[in-house]
Amino acid sequence: MIKRSPLVLGNKTLKDVTDDICAPVERFPSKGWVALFLGAKTLLLFYICILGAVVGIGIGLLGVTHPVFWGTMIVTFVFWIGIGHAGTLISAVLFLFRQKWRTSVARTAEAMTVFAVMTAGLFPLLHTGRPWLDYWLFPYPNQRGPLWVNFRSPLLWDVFAVSTYATVSMVFWYIGLVPDFATIKDRAKNKIRKTVYGILSLGWRGTAKNWSHYEMLYLLLAGLSTPLVLSVHTIVSFDFAVSNLPGWHTTIFPPYFVAGAIFSGFAMVVTLMTLVRIGFKEFKDYVTLDHMEVMNKIIMTTGMIVGYAYASEFFIAWYSGNPYERFVFANRAFGPYGWAYWMMVSCNVLSPQVFWFKKMRRSIPVMFVVSIFVNIGMWFERFVITVTSLHRDFLPANWGMYQWSWFDTGVLVGSFGMFLTLFLLYLRLFPAISIAEVKPVLNVGYEDEGGHH
């Protein structure tokens, strides 16, 4: 029989697990954390200023102009929504598949989902140009008829998909946190901490009846989140695919976008996890090299699916016999934005190929660099799809270029400030590994001591 390798290293007892995972919440923050937090927070302040200008002066500060009216905000929206998908994949889909290794990364991956969706959600709202009228996006009784929203529009589907996704993933994440908040409350020596975590734990006490309902709910939420996460990026791809523009109007978009989302999300999980392992030494026993290796395998697999989609798009463009379709793809690879296309291909298709080698899959510096490349590549993928399809369409009289301004850079870079600030706060304030979920898998890979399985 093949021996399973342990999911948690170091022969931990139940008490050790609690102590290790609660430690970052209970001790004074390290210098490294404070430095990163100050950096991220400064970037967030910069972001707020940029967004203030974009809202106050107008969306014209960005490079959006004829014929490219979808730019950085839409590109970055799709990028961040995609990042979010890996979190749900790890927490819900792998849960349904009974992949026990997911337990120690699920919490952080899900936190990443919540923060990525929050970061993403701002963009379409601001991209309307008049965010103070954003409530028009929802169907509510009004005095204009009432004039209802157009339910036939993919943009409206997106409103429903993203808001449902944000709500459900936040609830799923919070429900997972409840028993761990109770643990921190019970350990707290300090009155404020006891009160705060006591409120957050909602009075959870962990009786067998409660656990029975809780486990059922967790399974149900996982079952609901799985089709939900697939629907969200499918609907995001409909924003493009339902239009008639060559380069957007393709049936491959939904699976292609979902695969790309998982790909980019796992890359972000690896980026963050390598850093968390450096920052919080005690987590190395929980998020082991085996975990990182499995995630790298997923990155390579989804990277090749994405590569296949790139190739398939070209083939279908040629096979369709449609001159506009053929032109768009030739223009994509060899036109003025060819550099972005080849950047995307080399980052997304070529760079993950190093993971064919076990040594590379298990090397922290290698995976960190590759995951950064994938993040860059996936941003460029959305840039290529959005901008290159728009900039040269049917009539040469309508051709033009995207007028990238430094506000575009500010929006893109600043969004990382928002994401990282939230993520760093999370690492300090919430148990970053699920305490109650890791305990039952402690014995995996060790000799069984009792008759239990």
Partner: protein, 174 residues
Amino acid sequence: MATQYTKGIAGIWDKESLILKAARKTRETGFTKFEAISPYAVHGMEEACGITRSWIPYVTFIAGLIGLLSGLALTYWTSAVDWAVNVGGKPFFSLPAFIPIIFELTILFAALSSVGALFYACKMPKIDPPIIDPDLSCHKFAIFIPYNDVGYDESKIEKMFKELGALEVKKTEY
């Protein structure tokens, strides 16, 4: 929320295998209102305590159905009845285009109602409920028998818990 806490007796263990044995024994002795408290979901605890399958899935199903019908009603009524607007010559009731909305509302209703059901089932949120031992959310396990359970006898229960290897037996409130 005003909840009455009941007095009773609790035994505390520090091994998963012992708590399972103790729960089974407690149930076999005839107690019905006892609670088994653990820091995580112990595999096999439901069988040991005789807990039946959770009823939350029924809530999920019905809420999902309500969400589906609400989505259908919302899209149909606004697009085809209340103020039908001709959009690109498409039918007023364009069902395929409404499916994403209907789907998202199904999921949203089902998920939020299930969470509501958990709150109801576990009587959450609860303000500052008494805890038998702070280690019960860390590495210890307990069984609590309330005073109003059938055949409640403190000395007998204490003896039984001790025989089952309890570290500690204490009179408490839960």
